[in-house]
Symmetry: C2
Subunit: 226 residues, 2 copies
């Protein structure tokens, strides 16, 4: 235990366990403290942004002292990481669940339902989404975000591999899933954050068109070389 303290030099923040908690809360009291830290940290992030996210500020908002905070988190980044992780897992869970529920189905309705689930998940905490995407340096979340994307990509690839009945050319499902997931993800995020003048159901329609059009795009557009 306490591996973070035994290291001779301070490990870089990219290091795998630089964010590992110092010790586990044993009593109910301390578990409540950790929860308060996370909750208050989230509030600070939402109300004042990442720039104002200082450990003193969080401790103050949580009604505890800075020292207590450092009993369970090795540094400031670990707190942010914990908050973002929880959020990330939420979104990931919702989208993955929506996909798994409809692995048997095919066609526009299925695609639309999944896109809808994604939009809903993002809208639910649009404010935190904004902080994560527009204020945090992306490098910190790169790993977490990649994991989320990979999870969904794997599901989509599996779905494609299973249900390609009547598909003309057997393109690599992993590549197709990569394209599909990244395209849809970015559109969904941007729609929620930038709020362009496009109604929700229009966006859903377009996401369906984009996805199905891409999946069926094998007559005429195939190996078009320059």
């Amino acid at each position: 235990m306490l591996s973070a303290m035994t290291a001779p030099g301070p490990p870089p923040y990219g290091s795998p366990d630089a964010l590992r908690p110092r010790k586990q809360p044993r009593q109910a009291r301390s578990r409540a403290t950790v929860d308060r830290i996370l909750a208050s940290g989230r509030e600070v992030l939402l109300s004042d942004g990442y720039d104002a996210f200082s450990t003193n500020r969080v401790a103050d908002a949580a009604g505890i002292s800075p020292g207590s905070l450092y009993q369970y988190f090795p540094n400031k980044h670990a707190i942010v990481a914990a908050i973002v992780d929880r959020y990330s897992d939420d979104v990931s869970d919702q989208v993955a669940a929506s996909l798994v529920d409809r692995l048997g189905e095919v066609g526009p309705a299925m695609v639309r339902a999944c896109a809808d689930a994604l939009l809903t998940a993002l809208e639910e905490n649009a404010d935190l989404l904004r902080v994560v995407f527009e204020e945090l340096p992306a490098r910190q979340n790169a790993a977490r975000r990649a994991a989320l994307e990979r999870r969904v990509q794997d599901l989509v690839a599996a779905y494609l591999a299973a249900s390609r009945a009547g598909e003309p050319s057997p393109r690599q499902p992993t590549v197709v899933a990569w394209v599909l997931v990244l395209a849809v993800e970015n559109l969904a995020v941007r729609w929620v954050l930038d709020a362009p003048p496009i109604p929700r159901d229009v966006v859903l329609d377009e996401l369906v068109r984009l996805s199905l059009g891409y999946l069926q795009a094998d007559r005429g557009a195939g190996g078009a070389s320059a």
Copy 2:
């Protein structure tokens, strides 16, 4: 002039002219100094990342004193903004030029050529792209990035409006352009930065499929409701 100094309180960084230079360099000597600041700032960004980007560091790398730096830049962010602006304009110019050159053409070859131009522009300075996308807080560049995207979206929308000969349903070109540009942009950026195991020409093929498939996706996938 010197509007930044007359303000009673320091303006927030979101303010329109918080990044405006304090004074214009008049003599050749000072113009060279500004260039050196920008060049060294870029180097620091590339070699050590945004975290190490301090004004003292930049001044040191440029071989000038911190004071000189503040003669032309009101604050640290202005230097970063200037560097990113220049880069942003470069990419924007290349993509826009590629589009304009082919406004008359139609079909896979045209789409592929434009996608190729985008990939090339991004690959050219992949290291700076990484810094911009993964280290800078996105909020700072949000405006600049939105401008870039809007410029391309307008071009695409104009192209669509002009060349929709034989298109079945007249969807809103602005919406279609929004979808197309954001989807393709994100895929291109992610491909360059994450380097997934997908060959370059395969990515181009898929981008073409995605775009054309989406544009022609009006049989069967139209108003699919949940």
